[in-house]
Amino acid sequence: MDTIITNLTSPVVMAFVMGIMVKAIKSDLEFPQVLYKSISIYLLVAIGLKGGVELSKTPFSEFILPASATIFMGIITPIIAFVIIRYLGKVDLDNSAGVAAHYGSVSMVTFLASISYLQTEGLEPEGFMPTLLALLEIPGIIVALMIPLLQKSSNSSFGKAMHEVVTGGSIVLLLGGLIIGFIAGPVKFQSIEPFFVNGFQGALFLFLLELGMVTARRFRDLKKVGFFIVAFGILVPILHGFLAILIGFWSGLSLAGTVVFATMVSSASYIAAPAAVRIALPKASPTIYLTASLGITFPFNITIGIPLYYAISLWIGG
């Protein structure tokens, strides 16, 4: 309970709540769409760069197990999500695969919120976590989009969707940043450090304010998607988070690293996955997958999920 309050009073989480309130009181405040996109670009590049610089300092041996664990989770979480929604929820094939793609991938902002949270608790996760974020972004989407391929006849737009997944804006910025950070290393990074490090938390604050407003708009669709999806959007992240804690500790991550890992795995994508699903599975309804990922799982993780994964991690491995 206490950890939840610590989390709820951190500036970035309050910004998110403020965004929701702004829409609740029907304010006419609008964030320019360009500002939203510009901050996204900044955050992705910044995460990539910092991750790359840290990676350049990490011995390969320390990194290989967590990396493998990440890819493993990227493969099994979309399958778990698919099985639950398809056979327990009796949702049709396309929508099930569409939702699975979202829960197999990852939400950058949830990832960042967990790092912020841990820092206020005085903990510092491994520096290479952003590399894991990049590793986790893609496989889950590919796995999920392959499921209907196996069950149906061929799908002409699968190839196009794969191109989108691999060359999508978010992954390109993250990976590009990682590579540049890795090559530049800590010394050459110094010149651009003030811009990408000092400003980071504040930019995240504004971003979460806007995301709160976006989320509030999704709330209107909650009744459309029904009770099952709501339950799904809360319980599946907890399940994925729990598995990730076990695997995280096993792979040698620190307590803080494990919490971030669990948060990442439990989170659902709302940038890379929607674009790919829209192409590969046009019949899957954005109302379902975006309401689940952005209207339920995202606010759940930001407010309650992160402290929960922290509590579980403390209990299991602390």
């Binding site: 769409q33 996204s40 976006v214 669709d221 674009a275 829209r278 192409i279 954005p286």
Partner: protein
Amino acid sequence: MSLVELELVTIISERFLKDDILKMIEERGSKGHTITDVEGEGSRGIRASEWEGKNVKIETIVNKETANKIIDEISELYFENYAVIVYSKTVRVVRGDKYI
């Protein structure tokens, strides 16, 4: 200046279809186009994501025959699965040969 009557075909669609549609209309005979960022709501409501950005409106001036080809193609390829509408009207254009 002599004015020629041509068709102005307007396509409004989700942003991620933009490149596809542009390629298609070019293949059907369009010599140029104008793109506007728009927002919209229709029978489907929700768009895929904030990141992708708004809808686009694609306008192209073409002759009657090309217009029909483009309209048919849009109806066949996209109407079932995507948020897209298309309509056309007649406009008077200077230097009509430029567009055919």
